[in-house]
């Protein structure tokens, strides 16, 4: 297969500025800003084995960066990450922008999914995208001043004026949130009939968190949906620029708060790539086992709440009880329930406790029967079927176009699981199936998740029976401080111990991305180290962000109750959307 860099230089001479070496296995090309749209169009449309998915679009503020050897001059760098299913490969394109108030052409005409990503870059970095249909803030309030991810913007709330909410400010904020259909180019009338705009959220039991949807209705039929996000923006990316490499781990737990330690995994694997840290086999298997336990726990929350969205009261009580059983195992091993913060750079926090097998063995014996019971209760229920079959249908092509990954993609019939296609942390050693659907409707998405719980249980069973012996963390000096007892013998060890526990490790300069098949889809961390104790840029690519962006496209023509089914079957978490 010819290398993409070579293809582009022969096809578009003078557009590829340079090729950058990164610590991950993806090719990184610097492209001239004037040609980026043409090159992306070529890669998507004309290339043999094309890059069909816009996997991520983000930016880097380069103004404070020291280690940029071999990279072209840039003030803001726009990063496009593409995924080719045919090639099973990622491609990263970088565009340097040198102006202080930079502009670049929008690619929304090429990928509709670019819409929100470009708005995010505009909001957080202040880069203007020309010809973008609605270049408005997306995560921060309309009234916000400044662009938070610029290096000159303060990170801490305590560095800024203390927050107050007097009467007049309350009025101004409420007014700025008022939905104006004209701003979105939405008609208030269709023929002689007046259209209704229904505001759903940010406080609504059906939205599973603080998501706001403005629904344009013609009678009962949905004409359009405009999501408003950012109510849950916790600044997780900026946080990475001030927490040490180790002390950022608890923040990853809270990015997709139902996934628990599974969120640690992509972050840590990216750090390990940057620093060339080898993880011992036992640690890898422990990581897989806990990640799969959290997949079950997350899917159980989804199962119960999805059934409840469709009017069933009982399942949520049953599935939450089973979730308790999973969390009891997690708490016995990690010491906490939802956010154990238990993985570490190069391994896990401590070895498995004595007697860890008992809880897991009991659960493996208990859970399949319950799943069967839920099949009878939910999946075979005629009302449930009537509410989900044929609702919210999309094809594999549409899913790829909009950046959909995870169960939502597999429900369309494409067997694509990163655990199989690009195995990480030793998943290639495990035997499991990748469940798929055929129709890409709400019912198939549910079916895929239910089957995934069985497969996760099968993986946990293999972990239980084949847990390797050995170390639970790497002995790389970047991961573990020297043994305390030895620090009292010579000054060198004492200094190293002190620095490792106080400042934390210094990760060598470089860039790396790592993604995992998380509960909701593909979750990835793109880390840039500038040779410091903190990351220079932490980009979190979460699955829920493109998934929510896709909701309007699959809801048009349905009714409000169908919208609830579509939202439920999308399975998102607001912290995963807004980070």
């Amino acid at each position: 297969m010819t290398d993409i860099g070579t293809i582009l230089t022969t096809r578009f001479p003078g557009t590829v500025i340079t090729v950058q070496e990164t610590k991950d296995e993806f090719q990184t090309l610097w492209i001239n800003a004037d040609h980026i749209v043409n090159i992306l169009r070529f890669l998507k449309m004309a290339l043999e084995l094309p890059f069909k998915m816009l996997y991520d679009l983000t930016a880097i503020d380069e103004q404070a960066r020291i280690h940029r050897e071999g990279q072209p001059d840039s003030r803001f760098t726009i990063v496009y990450m593409l995924l080719s299913f045919e090639r099973n490969a990622f491609l990263r394109l970088k565009v340097p922008l040198t102006a202080a108030n930079p502009t670049i052409s929008s690619i929304t005409g090429l990928w509709p999914a670019a819409n929100w990503y470009e708005r995010e870059v505009f909001d957080l970095f202040g880069v203007t995208f020309l010809d973008h249909p609605h270049l408005k803030r997306i995560l921060m309030p309309e009234t916000w001043v400044g662009h938070p991810l610029q290096k000159c913007h303060p990170a801490r709330a305590t560095e800024m004026t203390p927050y107050r909410l007097p009467e007049n400010k309350q009025e101004i904020e409420q007014d700025s949130m008022q939905f104006k259909p004209e701003d979105w180019g939405l008609d208030k009338m269709t023929g002689d009939d007046e259209l209704l705009f229904l505001n759903l959220g940010p406080q609504h039991p059906g939205t599973h968190g603080i998501l706001r949807l403005v629904v344009q209705l013609d009678g009962e039929d949905i004409v359009n949906v405009v999501p408003d996000i950012g109510f849950h923006h916790r600044g997780a990316e900026k946080m990475g620029e001030r927490q040490s490499w180790h002390s950022y781990i608890p923040y990853t737990d809270r990015v997709e708060y139902l996934g628990g330690v599974m969120n640690n995994l992509p972050y840590l694997m990216a750090v390990e790539k940057l620093a060339d840290i080898e993880v011992p086999d036992r640690a890898k298997v422990i990581r897989i086992m806990l990640s799969e336990l959290f997949r079950i726990s997350s899917h159980l929350v989804w199962y119960g709440t999805f059934a409840q969205d469709l009017g069933m009261m009982t399942p949520v009580f049953l599935t939450f009880n089973d979730r308790e059983k999973v969390l009891d195992i997690v708490a016995a091993i990690c010491g906490a329930r939802m956010h154990p913060n238990w993985f570490r750079i190069g391994g896990v926090a401590q070895d498995l406790p004595i007697g860890w097998e008992d809880g897991i063995r009991a659960f493996i014996g208990y859970f399949p029967k319950r799943l069967k019971e839920y099949d009878n209760l939910v999946m075979k229920n005629s009302i449930f079927k009537a509410r989900t079959i044929g609702i919210g249908i999309y094809s594999t092509e549409e899913a790829i176009e909009w950046g959909i990954t995870g169960p939502g993609l597999r429900a369309t019939g494409l067997e694509w699981d990163f655990r199989k296609k690009q195995p990480y942390s030793g998943y290639e050693q495990f035997d499991f199936d990748v469940p798929t659907g055929q129709n890409g409707d709400c019912y198939d998405r549910a079916k895929v998740r239910v089957e995934e719980m069985r497969q996760s249980l099968h993986i946990i069973d293999q972990c239980l029976h084949h847990m390797p012996a050995g170390a639970y963390k790497s002995d790389n000096p970047l991961t573990t401080p020297p043994v305390k007892a030895r620090t009292l013998e010579d000054i060198e060890t004492l200094i190293h111990h002190f620095l490792t526990v106080s400042w934390g490790p210094v990760i060598p300069p470089g860039e790396a991305f790592c993604g995992v098949e998380a509960t909701k889809g593909n979750n990835g961390y793109y880390l840039i180290s500038d040779g410091n104790t903190v990351s220079y840029r932490t980009r979190i690519r979460t699955p829920s962000f493109p998934h929510i962006q896709f909701v309007p496209a699959i809801s048009i023509g349905y009714t409000i109750p169908d919208l609830m089914a579509i939202l439920g079957s999308t399975d998102y978490v607001l912290s995963d959307v807004d980070r």
Partner: protein, 212 residues
């Protein structure tokens, strides 16, 4: 007051006790004032508002399910509208974009209304000292009970409800014009850190982490 319980099939009237005049009197008559009785009613049926912000909301929802069962404390009637609820639980991070909405929802609740701040974020911003997060919900609205934790376990949240119940029961909320200062007199909330200190100091043997 003394209480007995009877079995399902017991004939009516056959109950334990000595059937004295005094006892019968005690069982059928309650002497109280109207204000205390209303407070007793309020504390035993607090209706929470179905409102959640982030991670803590999942643990709050868990406290309603059967293992924890908040119905035991009369707080299971979850209302989707603030106008029907008495108690708002700030379960999660208070975001700057969300703060005006939270305040509007609080204002929509009818008095008497109470607020539980659940989790470190709502208490003080917690680990999110970041540009988009308000450092504690008490920066712009009153709070009755603070529950620590990140997130608090459902049991910890239930303890918060119990503490609030106690507060509600002791609250002086005149039903009519009274002599002296008007308005609501809320009892001073106890510091659980102080209350539990001596008990915690007794804990000297802590189970090892390398054993389940």
């Amino acid at each position: 007051m003394k209480w007995w319980t009877s079995k399902v099939n017991d004939p009516t009237g056959s109950i334990a006790g000595n059937s004295s005049f005094e006892e019968t009197f005690q069982k059928s008559i309650i002497l109280t004032n109207m204000e205390s009785m209303v407070a007793w009613g309020r504390k035993n049926s607090i209706w929470p508002f179905n409102f959640g912000l982030s991670c803590c909301y999942v643990e709050m929802a868990t406290s309603i399910t059967s293992k924890y069962d908040s119905a035991r404390f009369g707080a299971e009637v979850i209302r989707g509208s603030p106008r029907e609820a008495d108690m708002m639980i700030i379960a999660g991070t208070v975001f700057i974009k969300m703060a005006p909405v939270i305040k509007r929802l609080y204002e929509q609740m009818m008095a008497p209304r109470w607020v539980i701040s659940m989790g470190s974020c709502a208490n003080s911003g917690g680990m999110y000292d970041i540009y988009s997060v308000v450092q504690g919900v008490d920066k712009f609205m009153p709070v009755d009970v603070y529950v620590p934790g990140c997130p608090p376990r459902p049991d910890a949240f239930l303890e918060g409800i119990l503490l609030l119940r106690e507060q509600v029961g002791k609250e002086k909320r005149p039903l009519n014009w009274v002599i002296g200062p008007q308005g609501i007199i809320k009892p001073q909330g106890p510091s659980m850190k102080e209350t539990k200190r001596s008990e915690r100091m007794k804990m000297t043997e802590i189970s090892e982490p390398d054993r389940v």
